[in-house]
Symmetry: C2
Subunit: 146 residues, 2 copies
Amino acid sequence: MERGATRPGEVEGVLPDRADAMLTFIGRIRTPFATRADCPRRGAPDGPICRIEVEAPWHPALRGIEAGAAVEVLYWMHLARRDLLVQAPSTRPEPLGTFALRSPNRPNPIASSVVLVEAVEPGALLVRGLDCVDGTPLLDLKPARR
Amino acid sequence: MERGATRPGEVEGVLPDRADAMLTFIGRIRTPFATRADCPRRGAPDGPICRIEVEAPWHPALRGIEAGAAVEVLYWMHLARRDLLVQAPSTRPEPLGTFALRSPNRPNPIASSVVLVEAVEPGALLVRGLDCVDGTPLLDLKPARR
């Protein structure tokens, strides 16, 4: 679904409407998943290669990332709904609060995934372990917690 | 330091100035750490109890979070610098790119920590494992990856 309908048992709330802070997209994530329907439910370490493309002003911030590293990726789920408080995923026996789910639909739709770096190119990382649609905006990269 | 000076070996870049997306703070994190100097370098599972306070419109989204759960917390490091591309932490032998560090200073200063829920109160969670200054804005809560 590109933007899901509200299901029985789900609770809609307010849309977040205060701009308390602003984000700048620092790059894009290229994946083989053209639509949300193509995306896996979660990324797998043996999933397909995806390409994390960082915009030029932030290339120097990649210094020190090497093949074999485990990197935490934060990205913006631009297709998600921000107003759902309680959700009823088809995989769950009963509705759960948004904060008890890793659904993309949430007031601030920031995803975090841990990926394995397969190769480093100038301004880009080739990784496995992502689950997002092609063209997803990139917010941050940091070493995975050990 | 409340806002660090640039150290030898560090590289300043552009300040992110495009508002590509906006965040709404959904609550605040109360910790015993009054200033950044008081904060531990990273949260520990046996660290002090902190209180994650969620604003009223999002209380229903907490349904299903129980004591004993491991929760990923995303929060906004409002005291951080957003312009540093290469950083020289005192704990490292040489400067590293911002994306090779978990420093709070980064273009989009979003932190992620995994905490253990000690107790659930109406509209709040008591947790251990945080490292942030008292009053830090809350962005998101989700079940930790297993």
